[in-house]
Subunit: 339 residues, 2 copies
Amino acid sequence: MKKVTLNDISESLKISKSTISLVLNGRGDEKRVSKETQEKIFKFAKEHNYKANQLARGLSTGKSDMIGLVIPNISDNFYARIARRIEKKASRLGYNVVFSSTGESKIRETELIQSMLDRQVDGLIIASTQKNKDDILRLKKQNFPFVLIDRHYPDIETNYVCVNNNGGVVRAVEQLINSGRKRIGFVSLKPGLQAIEDRLQGYLETMNKHSFDVKDGFVQELDYDNIEKDMPDVIKSMVKFPASVEGIVFSTHFLAAAGLRELKKLNVRVPVDVAIVSFGQMSAFDLIDPPITSVIQPVDEIGDNAVDILLKNLENEDLDFEQMNLETDMIIRKSCGTF
Amino acid sequence: MKKVTLNDISESLKISKSTISLVLNGRGDEKRVSKETQEKIFKFAKEHNYKANQLARGLSTGKSDMIGLVIPNISDNFYARIARRIEKKASRLGYNVVFSSTGESKIRETELIQSMLDRQVDGLIIASTQKNKDDILRLKKQNFPFVLIDRHYPDIETNYVCVNNNGGVVRAVEQLINSGRKRIGFVSLKPGLQAIEDRLQGYLETMNKHSFDVKDGFVQELDYDNIEKDMPDVIKSMVKFPASVEGIVFSTHFLAAAGLRELKKLNVRVPVDVAIVSFGQMSAFDLIDPPITSVIQPVDEIGDNAVDILLKNLENEDLDFEQMNLETDMIIRKSCGTF
DNA sequence: CAAATAAGCCAAACCGTTTTAGCATTTAAA
DNA sequence: TTTAAATGCTAAAACGGTTTGGCTTATTTG
């Protein structure tokens, strides 16, 4: 059962390819093809289950109806949820999505972007490693439609949909302060991401605003690839003199999980001894002992807006850049010591 | 900065397209193209950053170097992890992956498969809704390369990579029995999935083997779309007379989470009053109160094997079907009452 | 009734590759 | 010296669509 092509239909029906193509694309009336001819074509197409070859169509039209999604890691629930949202919306609008995970590697990111371009995707949605200014600049110079999500390059003007990281962390720290903590630590990732940088700033600002010292050891930065390995020492150092914190803000959900794991191993009582707040959530955070207070990122809105902006840019060449910093929400649970 | 094509190179260099294509595909020596000519071509290609248009190439070769991944939901961590693995392996071998989530809808699945075929993907990896025999049969009849994961159709011979669901649940139930429970319940999804059916069988068999009654209300089946809504009643009915279970096996990770949530609301002590085991895991299961005993599915192996089998089938038309039922593992934690 | 208009369809170019068969020319073998 | 083989490259078809300009007829219009 070989695939039926326009040529096949053309030969069987003795009607030219052009007419058939027009009709099947719904331009039959516009092009004044008679009802009978259209009937015949539609009938034959249904019966033989004709489906256009999208590669051929793409080659011809210069549009592939695919959008590329480049993210750090599809198995991270945060990105997976964004991906789901993007996919859903995109598919309603006739687009498929190709995805790839960079694993936070700049080289991979470069390769992946290139490979998507080779595939002729119509546009890109990228949660960049932020080590990759070159590629972003190149895309921009080529006027290729793309929108950054979650992470943007502050010194490059592009479309982006991010969250107010600073503000989210401010709320997290304030929450701990409200529950009476003064010696508050901040566990984060090694710098390199603007989002992470912003979160740190949010922490520092808030501490400063309340005139709380940021003592040695209050700020800890882990390497993305060695979180499991390094977390024990980090937590140990934070819960004893001289650091001895009363509260910790974790700058990502997985840091919070790993950190809590260690706190429990050390029999530190949360939140009595150390209260914690997570920036970012996990689906079981409400079931954990204690339930984790967390800053919620508006995942759905990120996905929706990214697609909206991208599609607008596909239709219209020269739009102004759109830059969104979505506000976070916060769910207060026991871990922050408020109750 | 328009894209450079073979034609452009051909015109600039006054060398035929064919030669250039050959050379850039590494067949220069084989086709006895002189060193100098090859040099010239490579040099020009680098300088002008030539990248082949994959649509055109695909049209010409009949291969797109894309594989399609059809799953219920990318934001479910189980599938996301499989997706990550598939993507990683596939990309090493030169393939990109297009994914789509069916949301357990048969219609969506049909659409998605069709759309991937239109896109000329070279092969498919499908975690089917299992309501879709027609499509699978069609793919099979067309001899299109595909492998089913997580769920297969028992009465259709295909490639598949699944897990031993029955065996996994047997272990789960045995574990509860070991910890002294006799009145054991099973919370699952409405039938429709073979995997779910197998899990139920595993439960029934084990209960039977130990001559434990499966009382009214011991087996509860929820609708995928109404888990949050229906779980409260389900759990309520199980913890009081006449059902009043001492242990529950949840047939998926998200059921376990939702179920535990209700148990806690009702102030049922886990595992003292009711011990629980989850089939399938979540990353925070070790942090939950109590930590959840769970049957672990070999996610990485599922992904790896699926890609392996698929690629073998891409190379070789007529291979025997491969069918794998991978064994599960189990992590024992407090929730099952063993400690 | 001639000219203009509309109706209905098609030929052919094009998108950017791959691939096969074969053409000159030079070199080696008989 | 003639023939055979090797060298180095190319023309052209094919993949399966889209799209534009235009060619016939029939129908109006003046």
